[in-house]
């Protein structure tokens, strides 16, 4: 079974400083990995995805993540936080079963951005 572990349940940064949200994964397959963001009272939005192409993946709103197979990690970063980045972030692994797939979510990291 595949799984993801988000190492921090809550991260607080000042506006304009870098963001690092950590994620480790466990997979028997060559995984597809995603980061989704959930703003309060809104649905889940895809930030970026890794699907065995380039190991450094660029997403929306200045976010990027690096797939490191040796460390089984897929950490999310952003050079400079903005107030609008405050939200819940989920690291997700796709569990393919033939042609079906289900998503397995981490427990989430709440990002707080302060002035």
């Amino acid at each position: 079974a595949q799984s993801v572990t988000q190492l921090d349940s809550h991260v607080s940064v000042s506006e304009g400083t870098p963001v690092l949200l950590r994620c480790n994964y466990s997979s028997s397959y060559s995984p597809s990995l995603f980061w989704y963001v959930q703003h309060p009272n809104k649905g889940l939005q895809l930030l970026l995805k890794y699907t065995s192409a380039a190991t450094l993946v660029k997403g929306i709103n200045g976010f990027e993540a690096e797939f490191k197979k040796s460390e089984t990690s897929f950490h999310l970063t952003k050079p400079s936080a903005h107030m609008s980045d405050a939200a819940e972030y989920f690291c997700v692994v796709s569990d393919p079963d033939g042609t079906a797939s289900k998503l397995t979510f981490g427990t989430g990291t709440r990002l707080q951005v302060t002035l």
Partner: protein, 114 residues
């Protein structure tokens, strides 16, 4: 291009009742997945439908059942509601056979069981 839509937005039910939630996938998508998100937790996979059949199921009891219609829309039914069924229910759509593609999520239905 309409995204994933869900109805109703909010729902309040009493223990023991039954509930039906509805989902329309993003235009062109043929696969619908349902997830349960309890307060403060990540979404948990319930099941996935393609060609009107349940293709995969997560660790949920038989009280949770679903259906997919020929137009790819889907329903989630929960019988004999428990207080623990209170959660945000998310529907996601995608294309069958493209595991590396993202799933598109609807805004969810907030179910409260009293």
């Amino acid at each position: 291009d309409a995204g994933v839509t869900q109805s109703p937005t909010h729902l309040i039910k009493t223990r023991g009742q039954q509930v039906t939630l509805r989902c329309s996938p993003k235009s062109g998508h043929d696969t619908v997945s349902w997830y349960q998100q309890a307060l403060g937790q990540g979404p948990q996979f319930i099941f996935q439908y393609y060609e009107e059949e349940e293709r995969q199921r997560g660790n949920f009891p038989d009280r949770f059942s679903g259906h997919q219609f020929p137009n790819y829309s889907s329903e989630l039914n929960v019988n004999a509601l428990l207080l623990g069924d209170s959660a945000l229910y998310l529907c996601a759509s995608s294309w069958w056979g493209r595991q590396s593609d993202e799933q598109y999520f609807g805004p969810g239905t907030r179910l409260t069981v009293t």
